[in-house]
Symmetry: C2
Subunit: 319 residues, 2 copies
């Protein structure tokens, strides 16, 4: 099977998207963007045994690579619209491609994004680069740099599940319901797409948590040239995580685990009611977990006692 046949068979599903003037198969795709909007563009590479274990089923790899990219657009308060896929594979495995394509289109449908193009190449390791374009009205996008001192720090959903799920995927058969839930949180992350858009005009700064809560909070506050304080006892922990891991393990996963793809954002206290309303509308918990401070450090406390925590999260090339 050559690359044209491969694209035709697995990546040319009609997307019924009126904005797509010309989809997969030419030198480029043609899209008709919504008038009056700005574009938000992001790209993310997932590499086998770096960003996911080689035991991850192909349908989950396909789903995951879309969801993590949608999450970046959500963190900007924008609506994800179109993706391209650059797929690098060691060989052509039709079963693998079929499953991968199913997972990818499943996520694309869930998040209402259209696959409009891509490239296939061969190399030793599986690597996937998705580029995603979203839309947002001018001056509505939420960046990382507009947090202010004394604002509150919030997070959506629950923390640490994905890191625990990855641990289970590698080390356990994962037969209990709680284990399955946690593994799913890694393999099929939930991009907080609707909440991200709802936070325009509410959040002052936002980031999606990919490298771990602590590292990403630091990154967000650094962009705003500020510091802050995290109340570790307030971190939202799922029942399932509590069921399987002790407190020390849970907090480690929650603080530095990464891969949660929850939204971390700052907002002034006056927006609390609006935030509760958003949480209610989308039926996703939003928890106040900290405060922005006018210094350059990120402190943590557990039950009113300061704790030391200087993990930088997962930095590629670090050390």
């Amino acid at each position: 099977m050559d690359e044209f046949e491969l694209i035709r068979r697995f990546f040319s599903k009609d997307n019924n998207d009126a904005s797509v003037v010309l989809g997969v198969g030419d030198d480029g795709a043609i899209i008709s963007p919504s008038p009056g909007h700005n574009l938000v563009v992001s790209t993310d590479t997932l590499i086998e045994n770096v960003h996911f274990p080689d035991c991850l089923p192909p349908e989950d790899i396909g789903y995951r690579c879309v969801a993590v990219n949608v999450s970046d657009i959500a963190a900007m308060g924008a609506r994800a619209r179109w993706i391209t896929l650059a797929l690098t594979l060691p060989d052509v495995d039709e079963k693998w491609l079929q499953k991968f394509s199913e997972g990818l289109y499943h996520a694309a449908q869930k998040y209402d994004v259209s696959l409009i193009g891509g490239d296939t190449t061969s190399a030793q390791q599986i690597a996937l680069t998705i580029s995603i374009t979203g839309e947002v009205l001018p001056h509505q996008a939420i960046t990382r740099s507009q947090a202010s001192r004394d604002e509150l720090i919030f997070v959506t959903g629950s923390l640490g599940d994905a890191a625990a799920g990855l641990d289970l995927l590698i080390n356990s058969s994962g037969s209990s319901e709680a284990e399955k839930f946690l593994m799913q949180r890694f393999s099929r992350p939930t991009a907080r797409s609707e909440i991200g858009q709802a936070l325009c005009g509410v959040a002052t700064a936002a980031i999606d948590i990919s490298d771990g809560l602590y590292a990403d909070t630091k990154k967000l506050l650094l962009s705003s040239e500020l510091g802050g304080h995290l109340y570790v006892d307030r971190l939202p922990i799922s029942m399932q995580l509590k069921q399987i891991y002790n407190q020390e393990q849970r907090l480690k996963f929650a603080l530095s685990g990464g891969d949660d793809y929850e939204l971390l954002f700052t907002a002034p206290a006056i927006k609390l009611d609006e935030i509760l309303k958003i949480s209610h509308i989308y039926n996703i918990p939003i928890t106040e977990i900290g405060v922005v401070r006018n210094h350059s450090k990120l402190n943590c406390s557990l039950n009113d006692k300061l704790i030391n925590y200087d993990d930088n999260g997962y930095l590629h090339f670090n050390g």
Copy 2:
């Protein structure tokens, strides 16, 4: 050096592009597209020892990965505007990154595109995925599928130089002026950006030559559900290619060599004057090399004698 420092040092050059509302460094970049335009989106991955030899200097790798992506946008008749870079490296080599970044920004400046974001990851092989977005007015883009029977087939520039250049890069010291010219044609391909835009309303179908003239002509004609005829004796061959290679080698490079990134397009004979004018304005030869026929084969003749040629060009995963 962690990935944030790497991005800051090598990929955060200010681009003075008013359309870039927010550049590298957040979850996504924000761009303000030109009102009333459609977007053209394309993505291409270059992998070490697949798409370029490991002896290619990093500044040429950087230049090349931008130029080949601009070429895709040019082949659609669109104006290239913004790129993202997903960079996968086995390790962090600051000298390599510095040179690579210089080459990339050099090409970005030449083609007036802005680097707006990216991702850095590590793996065993160097891999670069560029995603590019261009702009074109509605109904102006040139696709592959609108060629008609009896139209003429044209090509810009000269053919076979890049394949010869790659051969020289690997097998020769390349000390003569002709050798240097040919190697440059591989390492710093010329995207026919201005000509592509000028061909809107003139060309009926277009493709950029990346897999070789024969394979790409076939691809274009197949998209239009047609066949054609190539007059091999008319193929534009550079002086430098003639100087070093014999006729058989030249034609092999020209027909199946790939990597030329010249534009191949079809147009009715009535447009001949306009095409000559475009060639004159941009000072690039445009040569009539064939004709579109109402069957499904692509024939070739040399001095009025039919020759057999069924090379499919370079197909990843083929066989």
